[in-house]
Amino acid sequence: MLAALVAATCASLALGAVDIPVSGVIDTLLGKQVPEVTRNIIEILRLPRTVEAILVGAALGVAGACLQGALNNPLASPDVIGVTGGAGFGAMLVILLYPSSIALLPVSALFFGLFAATMVFIIGFTGRGGGNITRVILAGIAVASLFSAGTAAIMAAYPDRVPNGIYFLVGGLTTSGWDTLETVWPYLAVGFVLAAFMIRPLDRLMLGDDVAASLGSRPRLIRLTAALAAAVLASAAASIAGLLAFLGLVIPHLIRLLGGTKSHVFVIPVSALAGAALLTAGDTLARTIAAPVEMPVGPFLVLLGVPLFLWLLRKAA
């Protein structure tokens, strides 16, 4: 998986409107003497985008693995805790109502993604019987519908501006330099660190709440923390690359099917690598296959990923 990620990264940096040999890429990254044009293409255009692809892919893979473990439900993805609906609303709010402040898009998507998740957590985890998985999932679906309705409402009010938002809704990376990452990286960092600390507690949770509790963990707190990590990662990912939540659903399943184990010690780190590799490779393909037209990577990955996923699903059963 690591090799796949390295290969995808090299391809992502080398291929594009101008193909640069891998040796040229390496020379640039090592700070050796290379033509000015090459340096500019790699450092200003491709490197930020590749780094974004790696981080977003890893974030979505980890978010999906954390959520599926926390909610003990194979259908869990960032959708079910409201993140996707919230982030979509936040983005469309800026794109449709305040197009002049388009720079605020990532912040708004991040904020509303986390806001929606917070609503779900408050409803799902507090009060009597809080932390019940069904309650969390139902709360998530309800909150997601709320924000989807909000998105639909503003889209209906400004139909002429809707095309500007499509790229975000279907999910895709853009060549926008380091600006978004500079805002969002602390959230990604917090999410990854939280997720790393949840690996072992999630493994305990697999053996049941009673066993986890007798081993000294608090099942409700594990669920909340792991879901929080997922919310932060998925919101940050959405603020960079739009709604790619499908990746979060599918990658952990791919990893479990391929690896033959559900142990989070394996699933979480490998989902990070696989998510990063898949999104980086997918983005490279999406922007080179019909060059100079760039396809949004979201639908592109779905087109490639779904047949593979369905095939594995059949094979595993």
Partner: protein, 272 residues
């Protein structure tokens, strides 16, 4: 989630477990009114009683899985409330009545999870931890099953894995809630022998069990519970009299011991 900060001083001279007048209230009603027990080293204590007497609630309360609403619980002399999750996990292991059986987890992976109480959050297993995992699997007689998926095991094998997970914690006390309730005769006998071996090795075992004949055969002492109270404690012969069985279970029955075997002679139908 507790990371084991704040040290506690266990009193090695104190009983492994002392529970006094433990009370649990749910919705204003006493599910457990007043239950007590004391467990020493190298002792197998059976908690017996009819369904709904509060046996499992009592076990969950003194194991720290449900906060007691009254009474006192001391683990090696330290009050339960002062023990963090990790510290508690080092002094007692708990095998729940109905364990969740996940797919995609091997026996060895499950037992390793039991050992995780000894590790810092991001730390891997040391050679010593691996040795303990291997030994726990052996003590639970599950060698050769290490790579089997949990979902492929029989009821008896799964129960032994649960015990192996508990043993990997390296705690001096094992609390098992009805480990043999779903098992056939052979599997029940195997678990019983295993529990006696653990006791012979110095562990304290609390067994929640409703099978009186089994309790009488393998327990050093029994605690009888009825309507949320512990009403009698002592050796099986002292306590499990026909009088008490009649009072608590409402059944005419007599416990018969002969040459290390035990049987409950029950008058199933009051027709003579």
């Amino acid at each position: 989630m507790a990371f084991g900060r704040g040290s506690v001083e266990f009193d090695e001279a104190a009983p492994l477990l002392e529970a006094r007048d433990v009370r649990v209230t749910i919705g204003g009603e006493d599910i457990l009114a007043s239950a007590s027990l004391t467990l020493g080293r190298g002792e197998l204590l059976a908690v017996v009683g009819p369904n709904g007497a509060g046996k499992s609630t009592f076990a969950r309360a003194f194991c720290g899985l449900r906060r007691p609403d009254g009474g006192e619980v001391l683990w090696k002399g330290v009050p339960l409330a002062r023990l963090r999750g990790r510290q508690l996990a080092r002094v007692r292991a708990y095998v729940p009545q109905r364990a969740q059986v996940p797919t995609g987890v091997t026996v060895e992976a499950a037992v390793r999870i039991g050992r995780s109480t000894h590790l810092k959050p991001l730390q891997g297993l040391t050679a010593e931890d691996r040795a303990v995992v291997e030994e726990s699997i052996a003590r639970a007689r599950m060698q050769g099953f290490e790579d089997r998926d949990l979902s492929t095991l029989s009821g008896g094998e799964m129960q032994r894995v649960q015990i192996a997970i508990a043993l990997a914690q390296g705690a001096p006390v094992l609390v098992a809630d009805e480990p043999t309730a779903q098992l056939d005769l052979g599997a029940t006998a195997a678990i019983s022998k295993m529990l006696r071996e653990l006791v012979a090795a110095g562990m304290g075992v609390v067994l929640i069990v409703h099978d009186l004949a089994l309790a009488a055969a393998i327990a050093d002492r029994v605690v009888v519970m009825s309507h949320g109270r512990s009403i009698a404690t002592g050796t099986p012969n002292e306590v499990l009299t026909s009088q008490l069985i009649g009072d608590v279970w409402g059944v005419e029955a007599e416990l018969v011991h002969r040459e290390g075997r035990s049987a409950l002679h029950v008058e199933w139908l009051d027709d003579h």
